[in-house]
């Protein structure tokens, strides 16, 4: 029986740095395994021995209770030993470099490191300097692959499929790592993606014709300046968080104006499909990008996004722990 399974689409990753390196079938595998993991979460005894003896270290340089707890729970259910290192407990406040902190952790013989850092590329830095597997829990404005996978899982679970669905993403694309990972994930899974937001918060090369280049992965993504047109007939509405710093950096005149032009309220949400899902990666700025009544309304699947998170992370930890030591992409 196990022998039969061996020939049957076993997949091994060395790291989970971003969705750009997942093929469509890789994503489907992760989503299927996530369903199986959700079943474990519904048992009385929420523990399986799959990762027994493995050490997972979570290294969070940016505060995030939700994501860190999600990974911790995922690891513990799989019987791994989980050690949490947060910015205040690490020595980085003493000026110790990322590299030194990381060598210290390597000495702990961590099998998997989960890192969240405010600089893009921090997980890649770890991945090329350490023997451990690395999962990116959010790096700078580059990527947040686990969030994207759980968004895909939520959509698949609620709507049955992702192909052909109109997914409208509204807000700050420039600074949103979740949106960027979602662009990769959604386009790979065949969704029709529409982006909408103030022009100052859309990266210039999405606007300047660069996407006409042959083979551009985001050639099919539509940019819509009218929020009404963007929402019309949408199957999924994703609201992105808008931070006050954007106003200070000169991108916007005020959060108030943003809210008036792009905020998701019940009136705008009516333009989407009747059963459209309302998603938000959290944490929400209620009253800015999303109104409280829709945030907690019955189209909102924001709660699902949280629960799904543990199952997705279990699925990834399981896949990585079984992973080979050869990186899936060789250095050219």
């Amino acid at each position: 029986m196990i022998e039969e399974m061996r020939n049957n689409d076993g997949v091994s990753f060395k790291h989970v740095l971003d969705i750009d390196s997942f093929t469509r079938s890789d994503i489907e595998l992760v989503l299927e395994n996530t369903s199986a993991m959700e079943e474990v979460l519904n048992r009385n005894i929420k523990k399986v021995p799959a990762l027994r003896g493995k050490t997972i270290v979570t290294l969070f340089y940016e505060p995030s209770t939700r994501t860190r707890v999600s990974f911790e729970q995922a690891g513990k259910i799989l019987s791994a030993d989980v050690i949490n290192v947060t910015d205040s407990t690490s020595s980085s406040s003493k000026g110790e470099s990322l590299y030194n902190t990381v060598l210290t952790i390597q000495a702990m013989k961590a099998d998997i490191i989960v890192i969240r850092h405010h600089h893009s590329g921090a997980p890649h830095f770890l991945a090329r300097n350490l023997k451990s597997h690395v999962i990116n829990a959010g790096d700078g404005v580059h990527a947040h692959p686990t969030q994207s996978l759980l968004d895909l899982y939520t959509i698949k679970k609620r709507l049955g499929s992702i192909d052909g669905k109109k997914v409208t993403i509204i807000g700050d694309l420039l600074y949103s790592r979740v949106a960027r990972s979602n662009l990769w994930g959604l386009t790979k899974m065949g969704a029709r993606v529409v982006l909408c937001g103030p022009q100052t918060l859309i990266p210039n090369d999405f606007l300047n014709g660069h996407r006409k280049q042959e083979g551009h992965p985001f050639a099919s993504v539509e940019i819509e300046s009218s929020v009404e047109k963007a929402l019309d007939g949408a199957d999924v509405v994703m609201a992105l968080r808008l931070q006050r710093e954007r106003q200070q950096a000169g991108h916007l005149p005020s959060l108030r104006e943003y809210s008036q032009s792009y905020g998701i309220n019940s009136q705008r949400l009516k333009l989407a499909n009747k059963d459209a899902l309302l998603m938000h990666p959290g944490p929400m700025n209620e009253g800015v990008e999303i109104e409280p009544d829709v945030a907690h309304g019955n189209q909102s699947v924001i709660e699902d996004q949280v629960t799904g998170g543990v199952a997705v992370r279990m699925s990834l930890l399981y896949t990585l722990a079984a992973g080979s030591d050869n990186e899936i992409l060789p250095r050219p």
């Binding site: 049957n8 595998l29 395994n33 799959a50």
Partner: protein, 142 residues
């Protein structure tokens, strides 16, 4: 057990129902999270586990198509124990091909088929493969 143990278990359950007019519940077990060889064989596609009834104090029969090293069965027993404390666990297999690596023995065997390690035993069932047959093949990799 996934995957061909499931239709076999269903057939057995319906045959028993035919004889005794009693319903024997059928559960589905995926042992992916209990295997002892994850690092060597890589992770696999997992399928759902579904144990529909309380198994405490019950007699549970594990049904699989081929019994080989016995490691899958050990993993299945570990999985079952996480769902409760069965009164008795028994093992029913369609084919026992020998070469046990653990002290596991079946209670019910369809057929003993001695094989060499270089051979593969494939069980095919109507429900999953369109026909019923058991085939022994030389392993192409050797």
């Amino acid at each position: 057990m996934h995957s061909r143990g499931v239709p076999l278990a269903k057939r057995i359950s319906s045959i028993i129902h035919g004889f005794e007019s009693k319903t024997v519940d059928v559960g589905i077990l995926d042992i992916g999270l209990y295997r002892d060889d994850i690092s060597e064989k890589g992770s696999q596609r997992m399928r759902p586990t579904d144990i529909p009834v309380d198994i405490n104090s019950k007699r549970v029969v594990i049904v699989d198509d081929v019994l080989y090293t016995g490691r899958s069965i050990r993993a299945a027993m570990d999985a079952l124990n996480d769902f409760g404390r069965p009164g008795q666990i028994q093992l029913a297999v369609l084919v026992d091909r020998g070469h046990r690596e653990l002290p596991i023995r079946p209670d019910y065997v369809g057929k003993n088929v001695p094989t060499a390690k270089e051979e593969d035993v494939h069980v095919r069932l109507e429900e999953t493969d369109g026909l019923d047959e058991v085939v022994i093949e030389a392993n192409e990799e050797n």
